[in-house]
Subunit: 151 residues, 2 copies
DNA sequence: CCACTATTGAGACGTAATCTCAATAATATA
DNA sequence: TATATTATTGAGATTACGTCTCAATAGTGG
């Protein structure tokens, strides 16, 4: 049976890296999050749990997990480095409300295909892509429409 | 006749901001760049030209220029904040080689339309989007294919 | 020209991320 | 198992990038 830990272990072996308890603690903490998170969320959580794992170790681990395709960077639109777990999860892109920060995950096969076509047209092999749609959701638009009347 | 400076002046007026020589120097420096640039490129160039304009003034100006649609943030995929001039330039997205950092600008109307459709479907009004395709170009693939033989 | 107010810039500050290096722990080998 | 080898850890220093402070300066409108 495949678990994120077994895949992680496999990846470490393949890369000549060691399976340490700090790395396991950090990965477990990361897996405890529901959606998107920042590095500091992990640091804070690992301290709460009184598990070993430091800032240096975390920042060394993050690119390893990305390379292993267990996590990825997401929501780059506002300059903050956010992550999400991608292990065993289908690819998706994001629609974000710039006012209330609500995030909607969506999948659009046609766009995925067109993106690959564009890459091919220019002689590229596509490895990944960032697609983030930024706008205002219905609720936030309503609120903004109202506020002028209040002033 | 419309120039970037006249549009800039207009925007400042509209926002109740003043046209200062530092802002003009910084904008001129920004316009001297061909493609994508980072804040430090501007700072370095303005020092070389021995024009007035400081770090604080630059970082205060950048969001103003973004709001005026004279520049925009681009190439977020690697975490660095890069800008490009958008004044008098059609919208485009980016295809990037992760190996040699070559950037190709492309325009794909169908995707633009589909993106708006997705936003509408979820009740959003789309303000902007980030779409960056990351892969490896033909040349870099060739180089990588060869290197194992050299070792 | 004056009065008013926005702007500037040197440097302090904040925050995210990386680096250093001695101590420690994981692994391979005997 | 014991030992040698080498990767890893973590506290704290350091860097990179960006923001803030505030006294001096400079636009602006009247
Ligand atoms: Zn996608
Ligand atoms: Zn997501
Ligand atoms: Zn586009
Ligand atoms: Zn561009």
């Amino acid at each position: 049976m495949q678990t994120i830990l077994s895949d992680f272990t496999k990846h470490l072996k393949a890369e000549g890296l060691r399976l340490t308890k700090e790395r396991v603690h950090l990965l477990e903490t990361i897996c405890s999050f529901k959606g998107h998170f920042i590095a500091d969320d992990i640091l804070f959580a690992i301290k709460s749990r009184r598990k070993s794992g430091s800032r240096a170790t975390l920042y060394r681990l993050l690119p390893v997990l990305v390379k292993a395709s267990l996590i990825q960077q997401s929501l780059l639109y506002d300059g903050q480095t956010k992550y999400e777990v991608t292990w065993n999860k289908a690819h998706h892109d994001h629609l974000i409300c710039s006012s209330c920060s609500m995030v909607i995950e969506f999948k659009h096969n046609t766009i995925e295909i067109l993106q690959r076509e564009i890459a091919n047209k220019y002689g590229f092999i596509l490895d990944r892509h960032v697609m983030e749609l930024v706008g205002r959701c219905k609720d936030c638009r309503r609120k903004n429409d109202v506020s002028p009347r209040l002033c």
